[in-house]
Symmetry: C2
Subunit: 452 residues, 2 copies
């Protein structure tokens, strides 16, 4: 796609799922548009990778039965799902001691389990009090947004293991420490993700299914449908907004449109230069929605030895760096693959290490969870999202206390001719591929309705 003097109806910045979905909606509505992407690939936080000759997801990979937008999109793109393997016993490493359990209920003390049930009920109850799309309007919004999740845990969770579990949830779900999260933001996220059990669960939860061949195929195929509108490798340098339209200066050329959809996280949108400084609340939001920290890792073995030992391949730890692990063995292949995450402060720390050092640590953790058979993988592959210039972290932009109540309104509020998309702006499944799709649909609707 060469630079032209044509004026588009819309330019979409960011060819992740949000931008791709917006583009597809614009196409369906007969709008002229250009889809601009900084990277030389589409998909954003959905990305293919390779280990031992197998193509895997280096980005988002799971889908839950509640994620209808993603399931529908996958179906339309001809990408099918298969269930996350969860037979046998899972592993919970608490303070260095490995415990095994079956199903979704971790092997904690009876008192801790009772307390977790109580806490989860309270979270459900409080989440339900957040008005749709406007958690800052909840009656207790100020109170909930004035404290960290960690403060809340210390004040309301008494048993040691229940506390530990809540902290592990924070790291696994947000790739952030509970000290970094607003309790209100946490409740909003729970609400959008249908509650803790759904967010963290496999069966009936957000990790129930995977995509045969990988989730990355969905954006890849979506991109094929709008291929003639797509401009890759074009980082945006400058957005010039006037009364009549928007001019976008990119690495590859300058383009004009009536409206712009910015489908990138606030932390990245803030790094673009605008001719008119954005309103204080919007600019302030871009300074206050940092991305979580995570390194995604695949480890391949000749066989899924853990299955043979009656293990599911799922492991969680509150002390080890490779702290969430799942079986990721591909259907119809003898090779066993484990996939997992180094997240939050562990990612921060280990990001500065060499791949070799990380590899050694990861294998040591797997041996700790699954025994000596884990010692000799045939391949290792990792993707450090914190070092990715066009994401600067994953899975999602997080919020510290005081952000939602003071800056939340700016999440979706258009700034003149600039409209905002991206999973951070979703009202269902924020942080997930599904939320990205929702945001693209909503932003496309805004611009279509704005110009008739």
């Amino acid at each position: 796609m060469a630079a032209t003097q044509e004026q588009y109806d819309v330019i979409v910045v960011g060819a992740g799922l949000a931008g791709l979905k917006a583009a597809r909606e614009l196409k369906a509505a007969g709008k002229s548009f250009l889809l601009v992407e900084a990277r030389d690939r589409v998909g954003g936080r959905s990305k293919p990778g390779e280990i031992a000759g197998q193509v895997v997801d280096f980005g988002g990979q799971w889908v839950g039965p509640q994620q209808n937008l993603l399931l529908d999109e996958a179906e339309e793109m001809g990408v099918k799902t298969y269930p996350q393997y969860l037979e046998g016993q899972s592993v919970l490493d608490l303070d260095g001691t490995v415990r095994r359990y079956r199903g979704d209920i971790p092997n904690l003390s009876f008192l801790s389990l009772i307390e977790l049930m109580r806490v989860e009920k309270r979270w459900s109850r409080e989440s339900a009090q957040l008005p749709e799309g406007a958690p800052w309007l909840a009656k207790k919004a100020d109170q909930w947004d004035a404290q960290t999740l960690e403060s809340w845990i210390l004040a309301h969770v008494k048993t040691k293991h229940a506390r530990t579990f809540a902290r592990v949830v924070s790291r696994a779900v947000f790739c952030a420490e509970p000290s970094q999260l607003s309790y209100l933001y946490f409740l909003e996220y729970l609400k959008q993700g249908h509650g803790l059990e759904c967010l963290t669960g496999v069966k009936n939860g957000a990790q129930q299914d995977k995509f045969i061949g990988g989730a990355w195929q969905i954006p890849s195929r979506m991109a094929e449908r709008v291929e003639s509108h797509l401009l890759l490798g074009a980082p945006v340098h400058y957005v010039v907004q006037t009364a009549d339209g928007v001019t976008l200066v990119t690495e590859k050329g300058t383009y004009q449109a009536k409206r712009l959809i910015m489908a990138v996280p606030p932390a990245l949108a803030g790094r673009i230069k605008y001719n008119q400084p954005l309103p204080t609340r919007r600019d302030g939001l871009t300074q206050r929605m940092p991305m979580g920290s995570v390194i995604k890792i695949h480890v391949a073995y000749e066989r899924p030895f853990w299955r043979e030992a009656g293990l599911s391949g799922m492991a969680t730890s509150n002390v080890r760096a490779f702290n969430v692990v799942f079986d990721h063995t591909q259907a119809g292949n003898d090779m066993g693959i484990l996939v997992g995450f180094i997240d939050s402060r562990h990612a921060l720390e280990l990001s500065s290490y060499s791949e070799e050092q990380r590899r050694a640590g990861v294998i040591a953790d797997l041996v700790h969870y699954f025994g000596e058979d884990a010692q000799n993988p045939i391949a290792y592959a990792e993707n450090d999202w914190t070092a990715d210039e066009w994401s600067r972290g994953c899975y999602v932009g997080t919020m510290a206390p005081g952000t939602l109540t003071n800056y939340g309104e700016a999440l979706r509020q258009p700034c003149g001719r600039i409209h905002w998309a991206g999973t951070e702006t979703a009202t269902q499944w924020m942080g997930y591929l599904d939320g990205a799709l929702q945001s693209g649909i909503r932003a496309a609707k805004e611009v279509i309705e704005a110009d008739g």
Copy 2:
């Protein structure tokens, strides 16, 4: 200064007090250097303005007796001080009720005052436990950094007015809500500013003196000493670091040096493009140190009528938007001037209003504090720092919970040939002009020692 092929020893980015001081140090050490500034003026968060024919400070303006670096620099630049006017009674507006008091002790209930004394002692004691330049190493660092200042207030302050006062302090000192601040960051700031009494006080405190003719003259005169090295109006687009040196691509040309001193706040340094993505901890810091929100306002009257009524012109409010006010009448002039601030959430809200609307609100607040005489000013002048592209807020980059302990190390840690300055990196008077000078001296020392 035209673009050259010359390689400098050092390029300094940002001609605020930090960058200017670094430049002066480099000059004294005989280094070749270029000082690059995005704006068409020097001074950064120190800036001249005008009201009714008088030149005033639209940026930082006060100096306390502990701020030796600033006092020394002012003396060398021939800028003299005069005391902040504080005769007569000051005004405290609590929940809409105006109370008057003398001196530094606000007119609160006896119980609240007793409690405030107790709280202040505790803050002093806890601040003293923070290792110099490394608060994240304090024994209780994790605990203190896991909670907001607001959570701390709710847990440890019982009387209503003492709570109110602590919240007012947060807004006045940080231009941020107590919900947005880490308690550890708060303690570190207190420590660097010699305690609450000093930070918030006039006599013997950080607001004791002002500069005759304005503080802005200090950077202005510093710039004269390095004028031939100064390049204004040159926003930085790109920093290319190699094993041998650094290339800086700016609006005005491309320049090369052995090392770079980046003397801008993390929130702004993060918006510059680097050829090698910065280490995770450094990039993460730039996503997690948002600038406070403040609009500085001057209002001029024919006479300082408040003085005639036995008032100091100082006012503080926990509910009004124009919530901190001082007398700013210039020596040798009949005209009375008040200076004050709309800060934190009030600034966020009012930044989107018209100047006319803000003016009306400010005058209404002044009438509330000082009576009907405040109704008819002869001039009004404001500076909205939140709308300033090259500051994006004031006075200082703040930290939410979980930032100092996880990202604090990155504040001053050089990234290869890139060194960091700016008041956010100070270990004394972070957030103040004095801290900016300290950071410039420290960064210059780093580069001088690095290359011998």
